[in-house]
Symmetry: C5
Subunit: 306 residues, 5 copies
């Protein structure tokens, strides 16, 4: 029994034991078991970007079983994917690794300045597939944001009642934001706060830059001299924004890039107190051996940061 | 047993004992217990304005427990917040202070001339968190107003059936109103009336100015010589507009400002018969000791006005 | 037992005894009991026009109890109001006078050329408040008309199943109609027909003028020489349009005006066979004694017209 | 027992005995009992065109009982009307003639290039009124067509489960069609096909003209030399389009016109194999004796065409 | 017991035995029984293109029984059609051939650049008609795509729970795509992936061309040298995109064309590993004897490709 895991669980004080069991399952799984840190494998890019753009580079990835195997071999805390991908392996891998059913998704054959994903699965689907959690994406900054918040509200209430943890991808995007603003520190911290207020157990945001998007926020960052010049500082600020550290916040890995670049970013996140990373393309688009090596390095950084 | 509390409860004659219990709980709590007056701590600014703009000035406020502690220490009648903030402390503070779950919220990453909040929680959430009431914001003057009224209708019916009190934030706003009109006396009185007709138990409006927004109203204010030159007169008029005084009407504190300005405004409200104040940024953005001092002064004014 | 009441009830042949009981209750109540005639007090102007415009002229009217007392003292057949106003007096006056819960309302802080009210109460609310009927407004001529008809369809089905009578305010209004057309005789007769076809038990329209709005209708009025030059003729025509007289049709009193003007209009309506009037501002904006006198005069006219 | 009736019933092979009972009831009723032919009286014009335009010419028609009596006296197979008209006579005439509750309607106080009726009644209404069938209008060619199809889908499923027959008025109309196209033979045949595919038991279309609206269709009509020059040929083609004759297809009478014109049209329809007519204004806008005579002539034509 | 059928069924590991029974029923039916290959007859063109364009060329096809007979005589694995067509024959042919109820359809009397079909049937309809599966069309690339995905999500969940297989027609179409892009290889592969991720058991796409629509995809196709010059290569790529071959993918036949052209295309599809074809107009628009001959040739090609 890990003291850190107990501490983290103590923050989720309104949740019933069913939810705590699933949060604990994720924290007791894989190479980072017991540390309260997370490395999660997400594979929704086939839906989001298309199959060739996602899997052609490392073509075993077309097969849904590949990703279960990769997550298991790498000692990930959990594997997250849309309905079809989980249906295609859920029985074979039942109970071997916590699953997160991604309940909404967008494809790239149509794009809109104010995006909103389609709901593509249900809490009942997550239960019949033996999942530990559901995943849901919101796009603060889109004119459709309220629709997403309200879908999440309903799904999260149902998920919690069924004992499933709620993982929220909070990705600012939409006509109200500049491109830079999508990852600016003020917006990233705000995105984490919104997800936390909506009742997320685990919050996923993108690594923030030092930009400030909103004038009203800039005044405060300057007046209060909030330090945001290093990634560690910004990470720390985002986690503070998620209830002063009382919520698990993890960071996405972004587009595929070189190993050094990945590890440098992880270093900054870990130094700032990140609870971990969710790493898709940088994992499954590498040959398996390389991916395992990279994920091990990432886990080592997080473990050492403990 | 306070006669004033009994009198106030007698106005809610269509409500069943479950609702009366929760109204009584709020009036029997804190420094103003038994007076029929209210000072409520609301903390939804993390969602509405963002975390840094809300909590950086007094950074312990990032932690949701801080606000429970502040409301308790200050002897507030109740603490109001969105889902995430209440979930993060509801078990630890269960039963120690009445909670109001704010069921809809707007963020500032997208803004619209005709705003409408997202519904972010449910009556069931309020019940599982042990709340005394639900809170709901309407924006009369927005082209989306009817959507909000209809959401409120449904939620209020469900809340009353479950024994929860219904607190309505009635904030005129939208393309149909000028900026001045948002707080003009005719519009403020109308906003109170709408909330009352929609079945609110407790109505929260902003302190009104002496402006008149609508020509059709101006004729009546002039013809009937309705006195609106002092804040006390305007407060009295708004309360009259809420069923001739048969509904609890409280006033918001607005943006953070100096202590003298706050207390002067409270003085006017109290002189006009206000049932109390709901005071957020002026409380949690001050250092705790200062906040407690200020809230005590506010409570003293209301108590003395009795 | 009144033969006229029995005759009227016989027209509602598809309704079950629960509905007939409530129709009978209204016809057995007040100064016109047994005559099959109606004088109803409606007070939704606080919501529709705002509190000062409605109640400042006779300020006891801010208090919801005032209107129950007025309706009782005047011997009205029923009192109609929105949720909040009825909630504030329903227990005290339970069973002393039939209540009509107005289930949709519009406020004047936002206005649209194609209006649609918000649904502000439910059949369950009407039942828990001990009402005899529900009231619902439709605006034929608005591009939102179908939404209102469909809301009414659903509510009326539920109301009838629960034994509540259905009173429909049919007020032509919207971009498809000229201002004159809103009360023209062809449109008024059409509005009565629509309400009747939608299943209303009691239909409320405005006193029609001799104007004709629609060309297709004008041809018929001219070809068939339908007499519409006097108010009595027009009233008779509107009642004919409501199933050849097989539905109760009552007329609204409109804006506040002098006693002579009111009584002259009532005279015309009564001569044309009107089943009665629904009189708000002309009643509650007068001092109580004057209002009682006026309402007595109105009732006398309707009784004598029997 | 009529062989023709048995044959027709055999086509509805997926329906349960409850539906077959009601189809049989209509075919065993009136002057055409046992022939498999239909003359139905529809009276929804009060809602659709207004009361004066519908009933002033023959003013007994304002009274809903008139139409029950007319349909009975004329030996019609069924009487179809909206909710209010059926409610007003359903008990008196219960079981004496099959009733079709028209579940959606449009009024003429607002008109749109892409029309969609309001749903104005329910399957439960049809059951409590003792109806044999429900009626529903679709407007193929309107941009709102899918909404109507989806409403019909839901209502038809519910109706069939409750044993009610489903009668679909398929009237092409909308911005996608020219005025001529609304009754062109290609569009009329397509409208019949759509209603049949949506699961209608009885399909009502307008008598088609020899025009062709769509170029893609014109090619086929020319290539396959489909004969459409006479009304009989066109009628036969429309019936073929309704599952090769496996669905009952009846034709509307259109605007009021002279007796000779009516009977000539009926002659063409009957020669083409029409299952009958639905005749409103040409029936109820004539003095009753004339209407009975005309309807008898129509029935004679259909009977002789057997 | 066929090993190939067992292998295919093993891929659907999250489905319960009820679904597997119906997938097996289709694979154990007709001329290709036991091969894991499919030739399905779909007849929704009466709704989609109109009756004359669909059936005039071979007029027995107006009769719904014709298509049941054709599918049976040809040894098809299943017959797919909208509600009306299946209702008209489901009892006579109950259990003789697996039926697929097409649950959404578009007509051609109104067309839109961003199409969305109407839902025209339900899972309950499929059950009462004894179907093996439901069919549903999605149009990736339409701005209405998310609506379709969400309708499918709900219907698929209900279908799977009831033991029905889910067949998805994934047809890219809409303002976001060029005409060429509708069948380009990148888009076709993406369409297959989307259907698979949405939980389809059987995916139907159009035979793809060698075009590339999206620039982001082009980079990958070029960088990874994905071979797409022959139809066999493209077919193989599309099947790879459907979970690396773990989902049944079949191809549509498209517009009517000559026998040689049909068989050449089938040859390419079969060489690329297609699980079969769904062939409508090329079957039912030929005289029956010719259609049977063609379908036999198609089946022979697929059988030999095993």
């Amino acid at each position: 029994m890990s003291e850190r895991v107990e501490e983290i669980l103590s923050w989720y004080e309104s949740d019933h034991p069913g939810v705590l069991k699933n949060l604990r399952w994720m924290m007791d799984t894989g190479a980072l078991a017991g540390t309260g840190k997370f490395v999660i494998l997400p594979v929704d890019q086939g839906f989001e970007h298309g199959p060739a753009r996602s899997f052609a580079k490392n073509s075993p990835g077309y097969d849904p079983h590949y990703h279960f195997e990769l997550a298991l071999a790498a000692g990930c805390n959990a594997y997250a994917a849309p309905l079809g991908f989980l249906e295609a392996g859920a029985r074979k891998y039942a109970g071997r690794i916590p699953l997160i059913l991604k309940l909404n998704n967008s494809d790239s054959l149509y794009s809109s300045g104010d995006p909103k994903p389609a709901v593509t699965g249900s809490v009942n689907d997550a239960l019949r597939l033996g999942c530990a959690a559901i995943g849901f994406t919101i796009y603060p900054g889109s004119c459709e944001r309220n629709e997403m918040y309200m879908e999440l509200r309903e799904i999260a209430e149902e998920a919690k009642a069924a004992g499933l943890a709620v993982v929220v991808w909070s990705y600012p995007r939409g006509t109200a934001l500049s491109k830079v603003g999508e990852t600016s520190i003020d917006v990233a911290a705000y995105a984490a706060q919104i997800a936390a207020q909506l009742g997320a157990h685990i919050i996923k945001v993108k690594p923030p830059t030092a930009d400030i998007e909103q004038d009203a926020a800039r005044k405060v960052y300057e007046a209060e001299k909030i330090p945001v010049s290093t990634l560690a500082e910004r990470t720390s600020h985002v986690i503070q924004a998620a209830f002063g550290g009382r919520r698990i916040v993890i960071f996405s890995g972004g587009a595929a890039k070189g190993t050094d670049a990945v590890l440098e970013e992880i270093g900054g996140l870990a130094a700032g107190g990140s609870f971990g990373s969710i790493m898709g393309r940088n994992a499954f688009q590498r040959p398996k051996a390389e991916a395992l090596e990279l994920l091990k390095s990432v886990q080592d950084i997080y473990r050492d940061a403990n």
